[in-house]
């Protein structure tokens, strides 16, 4: 029998919305909702009258709830690929960085890589003046970062340096940094990937680095390796 012609349709909609329609009766109603457009339309009519909950009943869920959802639903697949965001970062990184840049003052540190280092990339950041020069030592074992302005991470965040391989693929973490003036020893496997066409980028992460192994925060600086 079609539920749409049932004289009790409105009463069933009411008990369904109220929650007192249970068990087999509820399953029957839900099947009719899927199969009979008139039933669905009638329910929507009454649903439109349901009261709006007050903000007073809001209760923040535990912080662990979102990471669990994200993991179980495999949401990382649906994130905007990070290497595509590199060229677009400007719009959304400025707010995140402005505070950090202002907080540490505006003195300019001249870019002067030491003689045994050769610059391989310029990473541009928010505003024309903010740049990082990345230089590689002659033996390719040490990477030196020098920022045009000293930028220190806040107590609850770190910077993370990423390599996006020239052949594409997921970003590889090179280092977690507290300051954007840093010297870091490179594992040989990573040094070999610092080739022309690869990109370097710096993102903001929770203190200690990305919890997922992939960038999670805004990208502040990015640039391609030129040599």
């Amino acid at each position: 029998m079609k539920l749409a012609r049932d004289p009790n349709l409105d009463a069933l909609c009411g008990e369904y919305l109220l929650g007192t329609l249970r068990g087999a009766a509820r399953r029957r109603f839900e099947r009719a909702l899927r199969e009979e457009p008139l039933v669905a339309a009638r329910l929507r009519h009454w649903q439109g009258l349901a009261p709006r909950y007050s903000a007073m009943i809001e209760t923040p869920p535990p912080a662990s709830a979102w990471p669990r959802l994200e993991r179980e639903l495999g949401l990382s697949r649906y994130r905007t690929p990070w290497h595509r965001r590199v060229s677009l970062w400007r719009g959304w990184a400025i707010a995140a960085t402005a505070a950090a840049l202002l907080a540490v003052g505006l003195q300019i540190v001249p870019l002067k890589p030491t003689s045994s280092f050769a610059e391989i990339a310029q990473l541009s950041g928010p505003g024309d003046a903010a740049r990082i020069s990345a230089a590689l030592s002659a033996d390719r074992r040490t990477l030196e970062l020098r920022a045009t302005r000293p930028v220190l991470a806040g107590p609850s965040q770190s910077y993370e340096l990423w390599l996006i391989p020239a052949e594409g693929g997921a970003p590889v973490s090179l280092a977690v940094l507290g300051s954007l003036d840093a010297k870091l020893a490179l594992p040989a496997a990573q040094a070999a990937r610092l080739t022309r066409g690869a990109k370097l980028a710096v993102s903001v992460e929770p203190a200690g680095g990305s919890p997922t192994g992939a960038p999670t925060g805004p990208v502040l600086f990015a640039g391609a390796i030129e040599v």
Binding site: A11, L17, L18, R22, W46, Q47, E72, L75, Y78, T80
Partner: protein
């Protein structure tokens, strides 16, 4: 809480499953999870069960976002219905005792926001006022049964136990309460046409 228009945009971007769908879903979660968690907790009464309900609810929202009809449905009500249904299912499969007292006084106005939302249509704003007025006109026992069922997810037998009344009596209260509410609201609608 963001506006309904924002929530709709996020739901549609989630449904599209394109690049940025995860960011949209995260925005949806940030905007709506406190309300939905509050709703779940009011029904299941235990925090760890409410966490399960929220998790399952958002899993369903992610899966069903493509079936959300932006022209016909209020986005928050749509998500709230998913979470409520999940909470009711869970209550049916768990034997959760309900011994908590329930303050009746002013509950309707603490629980619901009767003022029209910024982006409500004139009709929706009016309907919300009608519903509040019509609830006020119900017999007290009918109103109490409806509020307990809606807010706390009580079944007929929960209501009978909670209100210390025979099952048949609370079923009648619920049925009559809904019927009176419906005819009162329909009268208000008819009066403005």
């Amino acid at each position: 809480m963001r506006s309904d228009a924002d929530i709709k945009r996020l739901l549609l971007a989630t449904a599209a499953r394109g690049e940025g769908a995860a960011e949209a879903f995260e925005g949806l979660y940030k905007a709506c999870s406190p309300l939905l968690f509050g709703i779940a907790q009011r029904i299941v009464r235990r925090r760890e069960l409410a966490e399960e309900v929220l998790h399952d609810g958002f899993t369903r929202i992610w899966a069903a976002a493509g079936r959300f009809d932006p022209l016909a449905e209020q986005p928050v009500a749509w998500m709230a219905a998913i979470v409520r249904n999940r909470a009711l299912d869970l209550m049916a499969s768990h034997d959760v005792s309900r011994v908590d007292s329930y303050p009746e006084e002013d509950e309707l106005d603490r629980l619901f926001d009767w003022s029209p939302a910024a982006d409500d249509s004139v009709d929706a704003g009016r309907a919300s006022r009608w519903l509040r007025d019509c609830l006020g006109e119900l017999r007290p026992q009918e109103r109490q049964a409806l509020v307990l069922a809606y807010d706390r997810g009580m079944s007929h037998s929960d209501l009978a136990a909670h209100l210390a009344q025979p099952l048949g009596t609370v079923k009648t209260w619920v049925r009559r309460g809904l019927a009176n509410l419906r005819s009162c609201v329909e009268e208000c609608m008819g009066a403005v046409r």
